[in-house]
């Protein structure tokens, strides 16, 4: 990775031109949220609605077939909370670390 997340003035590329493709992957966009989705696996029916509806592709499937949000990319929009037919996703306040 050539690009620094917080470059100093002299490290900033000319005209902030990005010379490397796919650098948006380096940006963790998950720190925007105030509420975060929390999945209650005991109620989950593994329908994948959260995975399909998530606008940030933040849900990942685990080995057991459950879907879990990746908080590095989840922006806390709450669409999964509304779309879950089993009502298994809670929406709780993000704690500051």
């Amino acid at each position: 990775m050539k690009i620094k997340e917080k470059p100093k003035l002299e490290e900033l590329p000319f005209a902030t031109i990005v010379t490397e493709p796919g650098t948006s992957e380096y940006y963790k966009t998950g720190d925007w949220k105030t509420l975060k989705p929390v999945v209650d696996k005991s109620k989950c029916i593994k329908c994948a609605n959260c995975y399909i509806y998530c606008p940030d592709n933040a849900y990942e499937e685990d080995k057991e077939g459950y879907f879990n949000p990746n908080y590095d990319y989840c922006k806390g929009c709450g669409i999964c909370v509304i779309e879950c037919p089993a009502h298994c996703i809670g929406f709780v306040e993000e704690e500051t670390e």
């Binding site: 900033l12 005209a15 902030t16 010379t19």
Partner: protein, 392 residues
């Protein structure tokens, strides 16, 4: 050798653009700039200029097209005036932040309203903070010469910034003047091929104009500020080289009989030449007066201006645009601010004159010089600028 020809200044600028061998022109006609772009369209249509002339539906699109063309690595020219420049406003910042060395010929004209097609400096002052290099010319020869220098300065790798050349609408654009027109070969040797640091090229893809997150934006703005601030060295070197090559002298700050003067007028544009007549007259009457012109507006020539003004007793700053509800004149405000920290400084008085095409009479320049002498007598330095010729 260059040949001196009687030519309308607008057409001389178009000729300079042709001789600079631009690749792309995109512009939208507006009074009093029209003759420039009309002539260029004709040149392209007739095959005299091998360039793409992109016709657009507005100035907003004209400058947008220029940016795209510039990012591909071509030499680009546009020209506008007044409302046209105001419509470009949003895109002006992008041209400078994307470091596109576009050259713009700006026929200075008042902004509406009331609607005015006549000359003042409202348009350029409205774009003061857009990050462009901004240079004033005082006559047709200068507008012609500076067009070449604008490409030379903007395309310098250390600079890589857009440049606007200011010249007074009608007072210059529609004037037929005797101008030394270069042979094409002289310019061929002077302007080298534009070689950008980065260009849009499918073989070497890069991302330009990406989002600036809060972690980046501050540093990016400082980078732009430094680029503009440091360009003054290249600008001065370009002026120097031009003099060595072609014999005509240009300075960031121009002076006329100012060395031993007590009272000077500081101003910009073609009125610099009218003031010289008054300076000569008053000198004959025994007044030690002079004139100082801020040819370079951005980057602001702090050092050159200070060294021209530091020994003066009073300076009167003549603004040709108004800051309503503020410190009245943009040039007044900046000249004052640049000298604020100096222990010893002249008295600084402001006047507004020649708004929306109102003539400034030679007798009024005399009145303005006398305001400087009055201030010295009374010790009174008015905060607000006086509007010359205001009926009240």
């Amino acid at each position: 050798m260059a040949k001196r020809t009687g030519i309308e200044v607008s057409l001389a600028i178009a000729e300079a653009v042709r001789q600079s061998e631009v690749d792309v022109v995109s512009a939208y006609p507006i009074t009093p700039q029209t003759h420039i772009v009309e002539r260029l369209a004709e040149m392209v249509a007739d095959g005299e200029l091998n360039a793409s002339y992109i016709t657009v539906e507005s100035e907003h699109s004209a400058l947008s097209a220029c940016i795209g063309a510039s990012l591909v690595g071509t030499r680009v020219f546009t020209s506008t005036s007044s409302q046209g420049l105001a419509l470009m406003h949003e895109i002006m910042y992008l041209a400078s932040s994307l470091r596109c060395p576009i050259v713009m010929a700006l026929a200075n004209r008042a902004l509406s309203g009331p609607l005015s097609i006549w000359n003042d400096h409202s348009d350029v002052m409205g774009e003061r903070d857009t990050g462009w290099i901004s240079i004033f010319s005082n006559n047709g020869q200068e507008a012609y010469d500076l067009t070449f220098m604008a490409f030379k300065i903007g395309e310098n790798k250390q600079v890589s910034l857009p440049v606007m050349i200011n010249f007074d609408g009608f007072l210059l654009t529609h004037m037929i003047e005797p101008i030394f027109i270069f042979n094409d070969s002289e310019i061929k040797n002077y302007l080298t091929l534009y070689d950008p640091t980065y260009r849009l090229d499918p073989k070497n893809p890069v991302t330009m104009g990406s989002v600036g997150l809060p972690e980046i934006y501050t540093e990016a703005k400082k980078q732009q500020d430094l680029a503009l601030r440091n360009s003054i060295k290249v600008i001065n070197d370009t002026f120097k080289e031009f003099k060595e090559r072609f014999g005509r002298e240009y300075n960031a700050v121009e002076t006329y009989r100012a060395d031993d003067a007590e009272v000077v007028i500081v101003m910009q544009g073609s009125i610099f030449e009218s003031i010289q007549i008054v300076v000569d007259e008053m000198r004959n009457e025994g007044y030690k007066v002079g004139a100082v012109e801020l040819r370079l507006w951005r980057p602001f020539p702090f050092d050159d201006l200070k060294s021209s003004l530091k020994d003066k007793k009073a300076i009167v700053v003549l603004d040709r645009a108004m800051i309503p509800g503020g410190p009245q004149g943009p040039v007044l405000s900046e000249v004052r601010s640049s000298m604020y920290l100096d222990k010893k400084r002249p008295m600084i008085i402001g006047v507004l004159a020649g708004l929306g095409g109102r003539d400034i009479l030679l007798s009024q320049y005399k009145e303005i010089f006398n305001m400087g002498y009055d201030a010295l007598k009374t010790g009174n330095e008015p905060e607000m600028a006086k509007i010359i010729g205001l009926r009240e």
